[in-house]
Structures are given as C-alpha cells and as structure tokens.
C-alpha cells in the first residue's frame, strides 16, 4: 500500500521510505496496521497538526450534534499515529518528539471537549464569539421568576404552617421551567445544525445563561426545603411524650 507523509501528505518514496519523507524531510510516525492506515490516517494526522479548532482536528463540521462513536474511533486511530509512545525509538529526534507531544496534547483536549455535550456547546459558542461563562447584565434572569422567588422567601417567614407546601409548589414550577428551557436549547441546537445563523446562537447563549440561573435557583430551593423539613421533624419529635428523655 502506498503511504503518505504524516506532515505534508506527499507519497513516501525513495530509499528511506517509509521512515522519512523525501519531500519535507520529516521522520514518519510508525503506523498501526488498521483499516485507516496509509494515506487516510496520514491526512488525518495532518489535519490535527494544521487544525484551527477541535472540529477541524477531528475532520467534522462545527455542529452541536456529533456521532460520538465515530469520534471515539477517530480519536483512537489518531492516537495510534500521534502518541509520543510512537516517537520514542532512536529513529526519531527531539523535534519529532516535541511535535508529537504537542499534537497529542491538543488531540486529548479536543476529544475531552467534543465528547461532552455541555463542553462542546460552550466551546462552539466561544468560537463564534458568544462567551457563556461571563454574565451579561441581568438580561438572562427571568424577572418574573426572580420576583416570585423573593415572594416565596417572605411567605415562608410569615406563614410557617403552609411554607413547605408553597416551597414544593415553587419547586415543581421551577422544574417545569428547566425542562422547557432544556428542550428549547436542544431545539435551537438542531436548527443551528441544519441552517446555521448567528441569531440562533445568540438566543442559545441566552438560554444557556438562564439554564445556569435556573440551576443555582434549584439548589437554593432545595436548601430551603431541607431546612423546613428539618424544622418540621424536630417539632414533631418534641411533641412525642418522653422524647426529651
């Protein structure tokens, strides 16, 4: 089988083939004999070396939905070519080793990002200029929700008897909101994958920010509920005769 240079894609020919490329002079990684060996894997390795982002490194388009089984297979195939273990023998110099270290480290970072739907989402938005980690004013906090949360906290103080039921109601409402938000995120991702468009990404960024607000609110409500339940339990115990002994 004709093999190609892992760095410049030229066919490996001449007396030193397949160990050194005559076109660019670079020593070649030793290939694993697999279905992707040869030209295809060499090109895959070039892609990692020249990639401007993680999607390019894996040779996939900038989309939210990815075939993770296929990505995993590609990750393994590329690892077989690029890993520093393949450049350890005396045939390779320090330069080849340094490149391998850099490329494998990039590939590892790329794979752990693309593997996780959340990390991929943040990464893709970041590439497009929408940084979801920075809060942008209060725009993403649904005002209505924030107000009813403050009301709930007041009510709990004033009417302790109905407090737990109110909190549970609020929690239910919150969960519904979270679910519809999550559904909206998936919908936006799908639309973006099929038609693209910066407006969709902007909206998605907002939804993601409100998701993180909803999540922190859920934690607060959970904490409040636990306190109320503990108080109720203590009250109940103190009513049992002899419990104090």
């Amino acid at each position: 089988m004709q093999r190609h240079c892992a760095f410049c894609s030229q066919p490996l020919t001449g007396a030193s083939a397949p160990h050194v490329c005559v076109s660019c002079g670079k020593p070649q990684p030793v290939h694993a004999a697999g279905p992707e060996s040869g030209a295809e894997s060499a090109q895959a390795a070039v892609r990692v070396a020249e990639a401007e982002d993680y999607f390019q490194a894996f040779g996939v388009s900038r989309k939210f939905e990815q075939d993770r089984k296929a990505l995993e297979k590609r990750f393994y195939d590329l690892s077989r070519i690029l890993h520093p273990d393949r450049f350890s023998s005396a045939a390779f110099g320090p330069e080849a080793r340094r490149l391998s270290l850099e490329r494998m480290s990039y590939l590892n970072q790329a794979w752990s990002t693309l593997k996780s739907p959340q990390l991929l989402r943040d990464y893709l938005l970041g590439l497009e200029g929408f940084d979801t980690s920075k809060p942008q004013g209060n725009a993403q906090i649904p005002m209505e929700l924030a107000e009813s949360w403050f009301e709930l906290q007041d009510a709990v103080m004033e009417e302790p008897d109905t407090a737990l039921a109110r909190v549970q109601d609020f929690e239910l409402g919150l969960r519904k909101l979270s679910l519809s938000n999550a559904a909206a995120i998936l919908e936006l991702e799908k639309s973006h994958d099929s038609q693209g468009g910066r407006d969709l990404l902007k909206e998605l960024g907002e939804k993601i920010r409100s998701e993180s607000y909803l999540r922190s609110l859920e934690r607060d409500v959970e904490r409040l509920k636990n306190t109320l339940m503990k108080t109720a339990l203590m009250k109940k115990n103190s009513n049992i005769p002899g419990a104090k002994n």
């Binding site: 077989r80 273990d85 270290l101 480290s105 794979w111």
Partner: protein, 615 residues
C-alpha cells in the same frame, strides 16, 4: 564477562521498582519474561545494606536487616519525592533515622542516616536500580541503557521526578514512567482477546492504587485512577508489630521502638507470619534474639480482625475512581488483583464486597507489573505497533491564587499528555516579575496540597499595571511530569523558566551523583574483572606449586628454573592485584608447563601399566 556484547544493541528493559521487592523484565519474541537477578532469583528485595560504605542489594542485604539494622535501608520508596514535613506527620514508622536536609542542606528535603553518612531516598533508589540494570545485563549478556520504570498511579509529580532522577543516576535513560496498574493491565490484556471495562486493584508493599480501564482493540485507555500512596503490605506488618511490641513491653520490659535491631527482627517476623497466614489457618510469630525469646500463636481470624480496618481504606478510592469514570460496579467485566498482599483472603473479600463480583486472581501478583513495564518498553522500542496506552494524570494541577486558595488548571483524570494555558499580568506599575506557585492535589487550601514548584516570571517590561500579558503553558507529558513554558504575548518573546522542584534534587546535585555513580560503576567493574582473573589464577598457582618438585625431577634444570620463576611471578602478581602481571604469568606458565604435563601423564600411564602387569 560475556563476549556477546554488541555496541549497537537496543535493549529496553521494564523495571518494577517496588517498596519491598523489585523486578526487571524484558520482551523476547513478543512475550514478557522476568529476568533473574545476579543472585539467581526473580525478586530483588528493595533493601540496601552498607558494608564499609559499599552497598549490597537484594537478599544479601535483606539478610542483614536484623543483624546490621543500623546500616540497612528498606521501604525507601515511601520516602521518595517527599519532604520532611510529609514524613514527620507520623504515619511513617520506618525504623531507620530520617534527618532533615538534602545534599545541599536544604531543610525541606530529607536524608536517611546510615552509620556516619546520610543518603537521600533518590540515591538509595538509584543503588537498587543499578543492581537491576546489572542483573539484566548479566541475564541478557548485553549492556542495557534504556528502561521503562513503573510508579504507583497515585504518585504525584515530585515522586515521579524523583523516580526519573534515580534512574538517571543509575545510568539509565528512562524512556517512560508508567503507572503500575496500567502496566498490570497491559500484561493482563496482552493477547488482545480481553475487551471491555476492567478495574485493577493493586496493593503493593507500600502503596495502593486502583485504575479503571477500557480495553479496546489493543488500546488500553485509563478512565480514572485513585489510590493512597501510604497504604500497603508494610502497614499490615506494622499493625501486627504494634500488638506484639505492646506485649513485649509488658512482659519483658523491652521497648522495640528504642531498639533498632529488635524492631527490625519484629518486622521480619510479622512479614513472615503474614505470608504464612495467607496459606494456613494459624501461624506462630517468633523472635529469637540474645535479648529476647518470644513466640505467640496467631489465628487467621485474629489477624484478619486486626487488619480489616486498614484494608477497608481501599474502599473509598475504588468508589471514587468508579464515580470519576462515570461507571457502576456492574459495568465492569473484570477486577484484576495485583500485588503481594492481594494473596490474603481478607483483601480478596474486601475487593469482592466493593465491586460486587469475584476478583480475578489469575495474574501473577508479584510479576505482572514488571511484565507490563517490559511490554511498554517493547512498544517504545518500536517493536510493537498493535498496543497503545492512554493514561491520565492522577491528581489535579493548579495555581495558588489570592487568599491562599488553589485554583485548578488541569483536573484529575485528564488524559495525558495535556496542556493548559494561563495569561498572567502585573498588579503594580512597572512591575517586572510575577511569582507563580504550582500545586497538585484536590484540596481548596494551598497548604493542604502538594507544592510542586515555585518560579518567577522575570524580565517583564516595566509597563503600567495590567498591560503586560505573559502566557504560561503548563504541559503534562506522557510520564505525568510537568513542564512549563512562558511567552510574552505583547512581544512574542519566549521566556525560559527554571522550575525547581519544591522537593528533590537540583540538576547540579544530580550531576554530582551521576559522576560518583559512574566512578563507582567503573570501580565495581574493575573489581569484578579482578575477581574473575584471580579465580582462574589461584588454582593454577596452587597446582603449579605442587608440581614444582616434579619439574625438577623430570625436566632439565634450566627449564624447571623457568617454571619456578613464572610461579613466583604469578604469586607476586596475585599479591599485588596486578591484572596484567597475573595474565602474563598465567600465559607463560601455561606454555612452559605443557611439556611437564605431558611427561607427568606419560609417567602416570606407565605406572598404571606396571601396576596392572604385576597383577
């Protein structure tokens, strides 16, 4: 020495540098095999004993553990890459004296007192590695320069660096540091028939590791790892020792903690008893010394009750590793038991309870790690393209931030090699340096984590505060060891950073030891050659001396006198340890006694014939 030496031989060996025992292995025809030590054994006890400042390693040293306790060092791996504060915490109950200060008197480092001298843990480890190297060279008949050395997966950066340095001092190019459970998995899955998710439960002499791996088409991918670097078989012996020491104190009025020889004898007896109890229901703990005659019967259940709390400490690391891998115990297809203490039934019971399945005890618990190291060595030598290890960093890496907190940069269980970038700037106008403190660990507060390195980004242009932008890249290489590089983003200038490990040795110290090591190696080699020459010459001399009267009887006087002179020369050469003179005299004597030998044989035959004629 062997004559098969080829200067271009490219043998890469695999070394399991253990707390209690070490092994060296290599791959022949695709199969790993453990190499015999110079003592003719498979295991080399990781014990170094000093006789007149000269180190002895292995069983020979282990035999001196009690008699020459003051000059014998063992379990040194527990101290490798650790600082005085770590060791002083108290969980370490090594009987030898640990003193503050490294070779440059730096107070964070530690040394071990041996008689009048002190040695660092790195130096002691290097002595053991040198013995392993020599064993491999003897077994293979070629010089060995390159090695893969295993470390506990949960070893931090300093401990890995220290291992690497020890290898360097021993004259080895360490091609890779690999994790012990990963190595074990490699040997376990070598035939590529095993696929799926496995856990490796690895309890050694001094450390415990658990790794979760995915085996797929020759790829060994570590998903998560966890462990405890101060938990192992030694601790089981210590638990027994504690009970016994108390009894001896009460009944005999002796305090083993104050008597290094007694203490060493008790540790040895505890170890022996532990091994016996893995086979039978009862065992006798016995110590016979001049000062003490003590024996006590133990049942297995009594022993198990005593050590169960220690074995239980492996549960949390196992569960954490599963959580980090996002797996439940039932997702695993096998739990592989590695390390000597996993021979104990109680350890297997605990593993069975943690993972809810029968643990696999089919791999050789002592040899599988060395075998795996040899396989990795073969891969690195370029001989095996089918297999590939993908490993992770065991502990999170971070930086000290304002308020004494650690801000994580690379999370634990991140695939290696990996890199993280951080941009630093100045806080004061015209500030030209920024201090950076790199930490490793899972805790919030700086002081609860391990300090890896401190360095200063120097030579920053004196600009208004916040304007300089220095990008620092933290790279964890395939050995799990940190490398740092910095770049001024404004000017594009690369900055060189000298990262001095918070513990360990400076480059200058390493160089010094390397030179000493080579000197010692040369001296050792010369000595060995002399012994070989002497061993040949001495019988020849004795024989020739005995035959001198025959020479004067059978040969012309002149010829006999020549022989006499050569015998004297040989004798003198041996006395003066002059290899050249001995070799020369041996050669001449051999040539000039040919006729004498012939005459003697002829005489013997004739006398035999006369004797038979008489009958």
């Amino acid at each position: 020495m062997s004559e098969k030496i080829t200067p271009f031989s490219n043998v890469v060996i695999g070394i399991d540098l253990g707390t209690t025992n070490s092994l060296v292995a290599h791959v022949r025809d695709g199969k790993p095999e453990v190499l015999n030590s110079r003592e003719g054994q498979r295991l080399i006890p990781s014990v170094v004993s000093f006789v007149d400042d000269k180190p002895v390693v292995g069983y020979a040293a282990k035999r001196k553990k009690v008699r020459d306790a003051e000059f014998t060092v063992f379990s040194v791996k527990r101290l490798l890459g650790r600082g005085f504060e770590d060791v002083a915490v108290g969980q370490d109950v090594l009987p030898y004296e640990i003193v503050r200060g490294g070779p440059e008197g730096d107070s964070k480092n530690i040394s071990i007192r041996v008689g009048e001298r002190t040695y660092t843990a790195i130096e002691i480890s290097a002595i053991i590695l040198r013995e392993l190297k020599a064993s491999a060279e003897q077994a293979l008949g070629v010089p060995v320069r390159q090695a893969v050395i295993t470390v506990p997966a949960y070893f931090n950066d300093s401990q890995r660096q220290a291992t690497r340095t020890a290898g360097h001092i021993a004259g080895l190019e360490v091609l890779r540091i690999i994790n012990e459970p990963t190595a074990a998995a490699l040997a376990y899955g070598l035939d590529r028939k095993k696929e799926g998710l496995i856990a490796v439960y690895d309890m050694g002499g001094g450390t415990f590791d658990v790794s979760i791996l995915k085996l797929h088409d020759g790829i060994f991918e570590v998903l998560a790892t966890n462990g405890n670097t101060t938990l192992g078989g030694d601790d089981l012996d210590q638990a027994v020792l504690k009970v016994v020491a108390q009894e001896i104190k009460e009944s005999h009025g002796l305090d083993p903690a104050r008597d290094i020889q007694l203490n060493a004898a008790l540790i040895e007896a505890a170890e022996k008893m532990k091994i016996e109890l893995s086979q039978s229901e009862t065992a006798v703990f016995e110590v016979k010394l001049a000062c003490l005659n003590y024996s006590r019967k133990w049942t297995r259940s009594e022993f198990q009750k005593l050590i169960l709390p220690i074995i239980e400490k492996t549960r949390e690391p196992c569960l954490q590793a599963l959580r980090d891998a996002g797996l439940k115990p039932e997702d695993l297809s096998d739990v592989v038991m590695v390390g000597g203490p996993t021979r104990l039934k109680i350890v297997q019971d605990v593993a069975r309870m943690i993972f809810g399945r029968e643990p696999n005890t089919s791999v050789h618990p002592d040899e599988v790690v060395a075998a795996g190291a040899a396989i990795q060595a073969d891969i690195l030598a370029g001989n095996n393209q089918d297999l590939l290890l993908l490993d992770v960093v065991p502990l999170s890496l971070g930086l000290e931030t304002y308020g004494g907190l650690m801000s994580p940069l690379i999370a634990r269980n991140t695939r290696i090699p990996t890199a993280a970038r951080e941009v630093f700037t100045t806080f004061v106008d015209r500030q030209t340096g920024v201090d950076i403190h790199v930490l490793q660990g899972e805790r919030e507060k700086v002081e609860d984590n391990r300090s890896l390195a401190r360095f200063k980004l120097a030579g920053i242009e004196p600009l208004p505060a916040g304007l300089p932008r220095i990008e620092v890249m933290f790279l964890i290489d395939a050995d799990g060891i940190l490398q740092v590089a910095a770049k001024d983003l404004r000017t594009g200038h690369e900055q060189t950073i000298e990262v001095r490990p918070s513990y360990g040795l400076s480059d200058a110290e390493v160089e010094k030891m390397l030179v000493e090591g080579q000197k010692n190696a040369e001296a050792d080699l010369a000595y060995r050659r002399w012994v070989e020459v002497r061993n040949e010459a001495e019988p020849m001399l004795r024989n020739a001396e005995k035959k001198l009267p025959d020479a004067f009887r059978l040969l012309p006087r002149e010829e006999a006198q020549t022989i006499e002179a050569q015998v004297l020369a040989l004798k003198q050469g041996i006395e003066q340890k002059d290899i050249a003179q001995v070799q020369d005299a041996k050669y001449r004597l051999g040539a000039s006694t040919v006729r004498l030998a012939e005459l003697l044989i002829k005489e013997a035959i004739e006398s035999a014939q006369r004797a038979s004629n008489k009958i």
